[in-house]
């Protein structure tokens, strides 16, 4: 989509096709909503953190494919992305540690039943699972975006280097 042809043209604002850009602009919010649904639906159907995270990351990939890395990539600061993918792991590890802290050392790591939530034991396990799914989802989403953005930037750099 991001062809070299458009760069030679005078109007350098748009790098791709108007149909592709419009369709992807409409689709991205729905893809992200679906990703959130898949993450939260993991406990009662197919889905979960890994799958939902990949779908969420795919929405960013679609944006970059449609608009080009120069236009879309600058909207996602690298520092925020880097912070996000460690945040996911920390949410996961933190929920596990909370189980030890809330039970004053009686329960095991990641034994969600001992989280101090105002519901009964089994319900707490279900909620604990949802929390860690969110952590997994954040990590996977950030890593997918990170890998794709870095590769795309690398290609862009080479192209610019060759031109000069």
């Amino acid at each position: 989509m991001n062809t070299g042809k458009s760069e030679t043209e005078e109007g350098k604002k748009r790098s791709g096709d108007v149909i592709v850009e419009t369709i992807s602009r409409v689709m991205v919010p729905f893809i992200q909503l679906f990703a959130l649904y898949v993450i939260m639906h993991g406990s009662s159907g197919p889905g979960g953190g890994f799958q939902g995270g990949v779908i969420f990351g795919a929405s960013f990939v679609l944006l970059v494919i449609a608009f080009g890395i120069v236009n879309a990539g600058n909207r996602f600061p690298e520092a925020v992305n880097t912070a996000l993918f460690s945040t996911g792991v920390y949410i996961y590890a933190g929920v596990g540690l909370l189980c030890i802290i809330c039970s004053l050392g009686a329960a095991q790591y990641l034994n969600y039943g001992f989280l101090s939530l105002p519901v009964h034991f089994e319900e707490r396990r279900a909620l604990g699972m949802d929390f860690i799914e969110i952590g997994v989802g954040i990590t996977v989403m950030a890593v997918i975006a990170e890998i794709f953005f870095n590769l795309a930037w690398k290609k862009e750099e080479k192209k610019e280097g060759g031109k000069e």
């Binding site: 406990s43 979960g48 600058n74």
Partner: protein, 181 residues
Amino acid sequence: MKLISLSALLFVIVLGALFIYVAEDIPDFGDSNSAPNRYVKLFNIEADGLMDDLNQGVIPQSLADKIEERGLPLPTRVESIEEGEWDFFLVPEERQQAFYPKEQKYYFIKKAGDELEVFRYSLIIRWIEEGEEETEVINMVTYGLADYRGYDTLGETSVIFTAGVSVLLLLRRRGKRPEAR
């Protein structure tokens, strides 16, 4: 900037220490009391006289003695499933209550000819029959992945995290980004 690097290093060390510390809770390999090795046929016992007790919901003394002889936890309640098949329930001892604090299905008795065969429940049966009850989640895959094997999934997430960090280190752009046109 230096403060950020230092605190990040501290975080990493704390997290590593935590993972090593919590790995102590994982059962040993080949430990016959650990959950993965629970599908075990324990022993046979003569059936005469015991069946009436079992059908009335009483645990026969000779059976209890034989279980205790082997150093296994004593059952507290009997429930009949079908003709000639019973479940034994027990309240876990204090050390195990952190795993699951309620009464659980533990032994399975089956009549075979003149003898009663005594089994312990396997992980698989526990996973399929009791998972939904224990976790309030109807998806068998999810409670396996996120609850029973939660530590494993934490490792998988760390693998993905490591992949992201490696890509960041190898491909990160040193220069300035071009502005949007």
